[in-house]
């Protein structure tokens, strides 16, 4: 049962966006997210919607996959909307019992909802078209200027990719230990929250021990294959910009200019 979980939500298909250099996608998404929080009028959001629409069209990923990501934050979205709606002081529009909806409240609530929706859909476009592996690579390469201030960029990227590799293995192991403990009479399902948390102890202890053992083995195997950190290392799949990537950068630049001039970012 636990094996079915997939991390990230990569959608396999052939599109311009899938082939694009992950650095472009990462940078673009970042700029897009920042722009969402800087817009001062509704025109800015219109541009963001247009931009997002183009990108979704290019990605060839069915729209329902993007909406799937929304399900996870629907509660958060509702809470934000409700709080903003009722708790923003200003000129009253409607008063029901003790709750007042103000004009300002309505405006903030709508803006917030729009922002969050665009944010989630925008970032799922990135995760749907980029494998976790490519993302790690992009982060390593993109953050490499930070090496100057002694940020262990390569090590962080390596840790991330190893974590990704071991998630399914540890999930499988959890499944196995769980079954073994159930066979010995362990009960993971009944009781209150406190009781259930306590029942997790016989699951977590063996899992941690085995994870440490695996880490030890893996470190030895990596050393045996001459791993000695990021220095002097070459790449099997180096990130190289192609023509399409420059076009994409130009496209992002146009978006940026448009949002600054029309969306009044400054």
């Amino acid at each position: 049962m636990l094996r079915d979980i997939t991390l990230g939500q990569y959608y396999q298909t052939e599109s311009v966006l899938h082939r694009m250099d992950p650095r472009v996608k990462l940078g673009g998404t970042l700029l897009y997210i920042i722009s969402l929080f800087c817009f001062k009028n509704f025109w800015g959001y219109l541009i963001a919607v247009l931009f997002l629409g183009c990108v979704i069209k290019l990605s060839k990923v069915p729209f329902k996959y993007m909406v799937k990501g929304m399900k996870a934050i629907i509660v958060l979205l509702l809470i934000t909307v409700v709080f903003n709606l009722f708790l923003t002081p200003g000129t009253a529009l409607i008063t029901v019992w003790k709750l007042t909806i103000t004009k300002e409240g309505l405006k903030t609530a709508l803006t917030m909802a729009l922002r969050l929706t665009l944010l989630i859909i925008g970032s799922s476009v990135m995760t749907l078209t980029t494998t976790p592996n490519q993302l790690t690579d992009a982060m390593e390469k993109g953050m490499s200027p930070l090496k100057v201030i002694k940020v262990p960029v390569h090590e962080l990227a390596m840790m991330m990719s190893i974590a990704l590799r071991f998630i399914p293995i540890l999930l499988e192991e959890t499944d196995k230990i769980m079954k073994a403990q159930i066979a010995r009479g362990a009960d993971f399902e009944s009781g209150n929250l406190f009781k259930r948390a306590k029942a997790m102890v016989p699951l977590l202890v063996p899992l941690f021990i085995s994870a440490f053992r695996r880490a030890n083995d893996l470190a030895m195997a990596m050393e045996a294959r001459c791993y000695r950190g990021g220095d002097n290392r070459t790449k099997m799949k180096p990130l190289v910009y192609h023509r399409n990537d420059f076009i994409a950068y130009a496209f992002i630049f146009v978006y940026m200019v448009a949002s600054i001039t029309i969306g009044r970012v400054f």
Binding site: R165, R214, D217, A224, R225, C226, T234, M236
Partner: protein, 290 residues
Amino acid sequence: MGIIKAENVTFEYIRRDEEGNVEGITTAVDNVSLDIEQGQFIAILGHNGSGKSTFAKHLNAILHPTEGTVWVNGMNTRHEEDVWDIRQTAGMVFQNPDNQIIGQIVEEDVGFGPENMGVPTKEIWERVEESLKAVGMYEFRKHSPNKLSGGQKQRVSIAGVLAMHPKCIVLDEPTAMLDPNGRKEVIRAIRALNDVEGMTVILITHYMEEIIYADKVFIMDKGKVAMEGTPREVFSQVEKLKKLRLDVPQVTLLAYELQKKGLPLPDGILTTEELVQELLDLKNGNLERR
């Protein structure tokens, strides 16, 4: 001096209590000497705790001997500056395939070693292709390692070592966690490497069936080399093997029992075909005599 030479190697595990006082010393490897020539297929055999895995880790400079010296291709494993060259010369495959695959895609894992060595990108791809072909896993190059069987994973691990272009490959119980089919797959791949590519192979195992193809067998017990010789020489001493709590292959045991009952069979029969042939010869010989 051969590709690998060990001289009076002793390794002690020191157990300490909480204050750091020595509680006890376990001698895992005790005064082992051996000399391995380029191109040989060597098997090191022993039951659990015989020190065979500890010894294997010396060949890759993961452990350093307490006493004695190990040379790999003329380099002393104690010399810090040679460590990476040693690991490149004597590649190592470990027991658990899950814990030694680093990449999330087969080809990326095989490329990990060359990447670390600073091999140019184009050559990495060539090496990856040739290594995966050598173990027969080329068509799986785009797969995730999690979806492969144990035998396939272990073959990927072997390819990962091959891509570093080692002179010698040390396999530390590569088949211990595999099912019989996976075991056969891996042993076939290892033998092909030795036969076709002339790779020096050091196979550490506790399965008797796996060593019959070896050029030379070392049997370890309590950290010492208890027996050494060709598989035939080793298997001819059934009583001694039994004393070392090692199982003799069924055919060898059958031949031994028949021999004890008075059939004039030669010592150390290793395969079923061999026994069948000997028995047929005996039968025909008897008929001729009649």
